[in-house]
Structure formats: C-alpha cells, structure tokens
C-alpha cells in the first residue's frame, strides 16, 4: 500500500528487513489511539451534558413532622423563603406520587402515603448563570422551617464529572505515550537504516547530494509505512468501536446519556492514522538530518 510514495529511490529501503515490522507496530498503536481517542471524546460529551443538566437545580426537602397538619404551614413558610430569593427562577412542589416513586427503590411497592409520613420535596431551578450559596439558603430555611434541608445536586455530580475527567486525563496520557512510542520506534528504525546503508549514503553525499535529498528518501519511506500501518490500525479499531457502541447502546441510557460518537468525532478518529504517519515522516527526516549533520 502507498507504494506510489516510493516511485524511485536511490537507496533500497523497501527491501530492509528491519523496517518490515514497523507497519504492524504502528497499526497496533493507532488501534490503541483510536480506542483512547474515542473514549475521551465520548466521555467529554457525557461530562458536558451532566454539567449542563445539573448546574442550576437543587432540591429542598422538608422532613415530615409529628402533626401532619403542621406540614402545610411549614411548606408555605419554605416557599416564602424561596420566593424571596433572587437567584431562584422557579420552584415546584413535587406531588406525593412522584415522591413515592423516588422512594420506591428503598421502600418497595407497598408504600402508601396514608400509612407513611412522606417528606415534602421542592424542585428548585435557578436563573441561568445565577450563583447561589446553597449553604446560606439552607441556613435561612432552617431558621424558619426546622427540619428542612437543601440537596445541591452539584456536589455529587461534580464528583462523577471529576471521575470522568480523570479517566480522560489517562486517555490523553495514553495518546501522548503512543506518540512517544511512535517517535522512538521510527528513530530506531531510521538509525538502523542509516547504518545498513552507510556506504551508499556516503557515496550519495560525496557525489554532492544535499542532506535533504537523502533525508527525503527516508521520510517518504516512513510516511508510506506509517500510512499503511495507520490505516491497518483504523480498520481494526473502527469495528471494535462499533461493537463497544452496540453493547453500550443495549444498556440503559440512564447513567451514560449520549455515550456515542458524533460525526466530527469520527472525523477526528479517522485522522489519527494520518497524524501518526506524519509524525513518522517528520521523525525520520529529523533523524537523518541530524545524523548527516555530523558528516563533513
């Protein structure tokens, strides 16, 4: 593949046994890069959605008291506090049936509001962009309505988002590692090639070849091997991605909303082999130029 890049070469680089393994190595690295990159991009959109969906909402909870007739008074007192808070856009008292549904996992289907004192829950939404100190709000509420508490979703969701960011950092490290490994491998292969063809290179040099002329033969070869390996890696990586996507799609979308690749994600993933091939080409060129620079 990509033999057209090697139309004519003064050095028999295409017959070098030591560089035959390079496409496979690059294929493997691009395969890993495709997975790491796809994982990173997907988690990115998940984190973004969570961030958006969560900021600006909180829940106020009022614990049931002994005398259920007091509950309505306390609820009204709490609503007055909320109404007088500037940052709050709107609030809504949850119906008992919705509260029951939320409690179902803990209580089982037997729960019935008549038998069980239910807490009152109020969904609160802030003005977009508004900042609210949830601790302060909780204190103000508690002063008027003992037994009330404020549940700021951000706290625990932020922890999840942080977890995702950590995983993303790891994926980035994997990508950086792959880039370094590619550079190292290409340097090694190129140096071996320089040693194997030392005599021919010296003749070219003495005949008056510019360093760039000799370097080009190596960099073209590296580009060709890099593209071959890169697309091989992509061909292996994409079905793997699709398979993973299929498995994830069968799971409930509850925890992992939007765990799929957008079109531009596919474009980025598709560019990986080209990126790796360009890294290989530039590395080979610099390695040769550096080595030739030591000749007179």
């Amino acid at each position: 593949m990509f033999k057209f890049l090697l139309r004519r070469s003064d050095l028999p680089l295409d017959r070098d046994a030591h560089s035959q393994f390079l496409p496979w190595l690059i294929a493997f690295m691009v395969f890993l890069a495709v997975l790491a990159m796809a994982g990173m991009l997907m988690l990115n959109s998940v984190a973004e959605r969570w961030d958006q969906g969560v900021t600006g909402t909180l829940t106020v909870q009022i614990a049931p008291s002994e005398d259920s007739s007091e509950d309505d008074i306390r609820l009204r007192a709490a609503l007055t506090v909320l109404a007088s808070t500037k940052a709050i856009d709107r609030y809504e008292v949850m119906s008992d049936s919705r509260v029951l549904k939320l409690l179902e996992p803990w209580l089982g289907g037997i729960a019935n509001s008549d038998e069980l004192p239910l807490p009152r829950l109020i969904d609160v939404e802030l003005h977009s962009g508004a900042v609210l100190d949830s601790k302060q709000l909780a204190e103000r509420l508690a002063a008027k309505v003992p037994g009330s508490s404020v549940d700021d979703h951000r706290v625990w969701l932020e922890r999840l988002v942080n977890l995702i960011r950590t995983v993303q950092t790891l994926a980035t490290l994997v990508l950086v590692f792959i880039a370094f490994a590619t550079v190292g491998t290409v340097i090694f292969t190129t140096r071996t090639g320089l040693a194997v063809h030392r005599e021919a290179i010296e003749v070219l040099h003495l005949i008056g070849a510019q360093d760039a002329y000799i370097a080009q033969q190596f960099s073209r070869r590296a580009l060709s091997l890099g593209l071959t390996g890169g697309f091989l890696g992509l061909i292996l990586g994409v079905p793997t991605l699709i398979g993973i996507g299929f498995l994830v799609g069968r799971m409930d979308g509850f925890l992992m909303p939007g765990l799929h690749l957008a079109t531009y994600h596919w474009v980025i993933v598709g560019l990986l082999p080209i990126g790796v091939a360009v890294i290989a080409m530039v590395t080979a060129r610099l390695t040769v130029l550096r080595s030739l620079g030591q000749m007179l």
């Binding site: 003749v203 003495l206 008056g208 007179l296």
Partner: protein
C-alpha cells in the same frame, strides 16, 4: 597571490592530515592545481595518495593548513554550500563504490538526479555516455554482474556525467590490462583537452613516463611537484598498444566526443548553479 588563487582549481597550503591520534600521514603539503592542468599523483603504497584525494573531494577535513576549492576556503565555507562544490568534482574511487542495488544506468544517473536534473535529460545523457564507454548493452545490469573493467567504465561514466571541472581518479587503471589502461588514460586526456582539470593517482609508472604530464610526488607524507616534460616519443602515447579495431572505435568515440562531448546539458544551470562559471569552464 590573489590572482593565483583565482586561477587555481584547488590549492593546498601547509596542509597536514592525521587519522585520529596517529602520526601525520600528510605533512606541510602545498600545491596548486591550475585550471586545465593534468597531473599524475604518484608515491609508494601507503604514501597518502588516496588521503590527499579525499581531502580534495571533501571527504576529510585537514588537521591543519588551508584547502581552497574553486576559490572557496573550505574551513570557512558553510556546510550547506559544500554539496554544490562536490558536484563540480568527479571522482573515480579506488574501489569504484558503485551502488550494487542499482543498475549501471541508475548508477551513472546519480550525479544528475542528485542535482535535480529532469528525468528526460537524465535518460538522454546517461544512455549516450554509457554507449560512449561501450556499455549500451549493459545499461540494466547491476554492478556485481559486470566484469571489473566494465565496472570501472561505469564508475568513470558516473564521475564525468555531470561534466565536472575537476576529475579525480584513484588508480583507475589498477584492475585492467595495459591496453585498457591506455584507453582509459586517453579518455582522461580527452576530457582534459575539453577543459577538465585532472588528477590521477597511479602506480603505473609506464603510463606516467609515456604521457609526460606534471607529477605530484608523495614521499613519507611530503609532496613535491614536478612539471610536465616533453614526451620522449610523441607517437608513443599509448595508441600503438591498441589494436586496429580498437583504434577505429577510439577514433569514432573521439570524433563524437569533440562534436558533442557528453551532450549539451540545458539543465547545467541547475547542475552547477552558476552559468557564468560554466562558460569559463567550457
């Protein structure tokens, strides 16, 4: 002094050379190669002939002294300008140094390709020159499949394809019989007549005596320059050693060479990068 440096193709002043920490192989070597001159470089084996040539074709740096090539002091010439100087020097290496994976054609084409000549021109000139040295039927042969004399001719063709101003040949007659030796010498004289400055390292004293050119004599690292002498017997320039058939072939080749030495190179501007000095050369 200035004028001399302008006229000299190559000039050495008090040049010394040592390999690593070893003894000086060349000591206080001073000489100038005037434009259009022809010299034999002689001396015992190990006297430093190849080392001296390597200094001229910029394969080695001197340990001391000054070397100037085409008026450029090598010590202060930026490295990226050296390839252009090397392209004006044709070298026939002692061990040929042909690239074994390339055909005879591609070997001879190297100097042209390296200087960016168009493929069409390369085809034309390389085939012409290979035909001229009698290898038209071996163009696609790889060097290992050629005889010693054939390889020698390929290496000579490679040395002269880009029409160098300076031709250096390291024992080019070392591996061939006397007849071939004289034929090759005749070829070098032909090139010299067309303006190329020539230096030939050789052990063949018979050739040196017969042709009577100037001599660079190396002895224990010291160099003495001996001027050209009149040839004792002008008829005996080596042609008498050649058979009638070969004489004929040589005459044809000679005529061709005079008419169109190595073809006209419209790409010469690219090859030498300096059309004005190219005119000088011709």
């Amino acid at each position: 002094m200035e004028a001399a440096s302008d006229e000299a193709i190559a000039r050495f002043e008090n040049v010394g050379l040592r390999y690593g920490l070893g003894p000086e192989v060349l000591r206080d070597v001073s000489f100038a190669l005037p434009k259009g001159s022809f010299h034999f470089l002689i001396g015992e084996s190990g006297a430093g002939k190849s080392s001296l040539l390597k200094l001229i074709y910029l394969a080695l740096k001197p340990s001391r002294g000054l070397i100037s090539l085409f008026g450029n002091d090598i010590a202060v010439t930026p490295r990226q300008k050296l390839p252009a100087l090397r392209r004006r020097v044709g070298v026939v290496f002692q061990e040929f140094r042909l690239l074994n994976h390339l055909s005879a054609f591609d070997n001879v084409a190297l100097p042209l390709r390296v200087s960016g000549a168009k493929e069409g021109l390369v085809r034309k000139h390389v085939s012409e020159l290979l035909a001229w040295v009698g290898l038209e039927s071996h163009m696609e042969a790889r060097p290992p499949t050629l005889s010693g004399g054939q390889q020698q001719r390929v290496s000579i063709a490679r040395a002269i394809i880009a029409r160098p101003r300076l031709l250096l040949a390291d024992e080019p007659t070392g591996n061939v019989d006397d007849v071939m030796g004289f034929r090759l010498m005749h070829l070098f004289e032909e090139l010299n007549r067309l303006g190329t400055t020539v230096v030939i390292a050789t052990h063949n004293m018979q050739v040196v005596e017969r042709l009577g050119h100037g001599r660079l004599l190396l002895d224990e690292g010291f160099l003495t320059v001996k001027p050209p002498r009149p040839i004792p017997d002008p008829a005996a320039t080596g042609k008498d050693l050649i058979s009638d058939g070969e004489k004929k072939a040589l005459a044809v080749a000679e005529a061709a060479a005079v008419a169109d030495p190595f073809g006209n190179f419209p790409g010469d501007d690219e090859t030498f990068g300096d059309p004005a000095s190219l005119e000088n050369y011709l």
